[in-house]
Amino acid sequence: MTQTQVVYERSKGLKDVETHYCPGCHHGIIHKLIAEVLVEMNLLDTAVGISPVGCSVLAGDYINCDFVQAAHGRAPAVATGIKRTRPDLTVFTYQGDGDLASIGAGEIVHATMRGERFTTIFINNAIYGMTGGQMAPTTLVGQKATTAQGGRDPLQHGQPMRMSEMLSTLDGMAYCERVCVADVPHLTKAKRAVKKAFTLQQQGIGHTFIEFLSTCPTNWGMSAVDAGKWVKSHMTQVYPLGVIKDITAKEST
């Protein structure tokens, strides 16, 4: 009889359910990273996530901690209400680009300005996913969307919004990093970023913000593999990866 060894299993931070996400969508991978970090930091029992309006509205059905579902764009206000009244909880929002950069632009700016001590997980896939591929503030110039069928035209629609850079000008931002999960090395980096954000949240030094460049193969009209490649070839040109702000690094230099 051969001895078997478990080398990989579902994280205890994830519920044992089937996914509703499309093939090639990165939500599932990002959920998993968050779940793993919560398990590794022993935070599952005291974490509260806030899910947005959009494809990830059901994030609470997957990540095995408490969740509150927010109105479109309002997750930073909901998180403020929770973290201010229950500072003992680890609070994170999970917002898409339509949610955070468009309808919720006001809420995220002011939560960051106040240095709210929760962590924002910002999923930027440059399009509205759930409603069927409409243009987002983050859509790349020339990228086709159902409301920009000839591609985004800067004269008509303006240029893509870089939320991480914009928010990092605010003194309330303690840590901001842009990551992706398009391949294993980037995925490893991304997980480290999430862990750092949650660690700094425990220290209560300000707002922590991780932007994930993500995919939407369905609305981009691409295969799962091509979508992952497009993140690296096109999105990172407009949205460069890396640490955008880290006040703890400044302190050490």
């Binding site: 974490a47 509205v57 408490d66 509150v68 579902q69 909901v78 403020t80 209400g81 201010r84 009244t85």
Partner: protein
Amino acid sequence: MKKELWKGNEAIAEAAIRAGCKAYFGYPITPQNEIPEYMSKRMPESGGVFVQAESEVAAINMLYGASAAGVRAMTSSSSPGISLKQEGISYMVGADLPGVVVNMMRGGPGLGTIQPSQSDYFQATRTPGHGDGHMIALAPASIQEAVDLMWDAFEMTDNYRTLVMILADGMIGQMMEPIVWRHEQPVPEVDKPWAADGRDGDGKTHFVTSLRLQSPANEQFNLSLEEKYEIIQRDEVRYEEKGCKDADIIICAFGTTARIVSTAIRMLKEEGINAGLFRPITVWPYPSQQLKELASQDSVKAVLTVEMNLGQMHEDVRLAVGERKPTPFYGRTGGMVPEPRHIADRVREILREVSK
């Protein structure tokens, strides 16, 4: 008990803290600014949380978050700000969350005026936002009553997991009156096993949401709300009646307007006209049955509704009284306040008409 002179908005804020409110989220708008101002100082002093939000929209969503985590909390605003809060209010109804919202009504529509009004009656009593749903709406007629109702508000909101609105006109917020502090203890905390405040010991998670993608489940949720509303309508109706027994005419008014009506009633009394006052304290649930019974008396020739709007509660009066008696209306709107002599004129006119 010792009498103290308090401004309405500050008294309401202090009453909320004494009733056990642990968090306040607000945004400036006249005529309720003394509430956030008072809260900014007193709430932290009492160990609670104050946040000045970036908008009314954010404030109501902060309330949503605190309430979802099981914390007793409130917000306040005035008419245009309440319109902005309606999104969050609907989400709170959909997520079955408690909370207290103070509306210090001013004249609308739009930016309107900062003068007092009662024109948000429909907004408060019909449906608090999109979808089916209700809030309990309490309408104080004095600062003393506003203070006392804060205890009822927090008790009802926690017990029923239903939003409670203090529906006051701007006069209540701005005037000063002597009050006594009748309550010595905060409202007892209730168990909130549904709160998203960390997993239970057995690893069970909580998901506070208003999303029910499957229509049968969403219909079921709506029906469960309706069941709750029926209990509230049965058990929580509050009203005051003065001199309605054997009255010639009943005048129905809520909030400050009821006090103006009282003056008119005294004027009419001197002429031998017996007018009674029927004052709903809960405008939702509405004291329909009680009004119907009083209106059915043989002596009552008409039921007059007086409001600081163009006839919003008038609809509830007509629904309650039906065809039993004439149901005329008198109102001023847009920030104008009715005068006792004009109300008395209207009563004389009505009595002349019905005796023809």
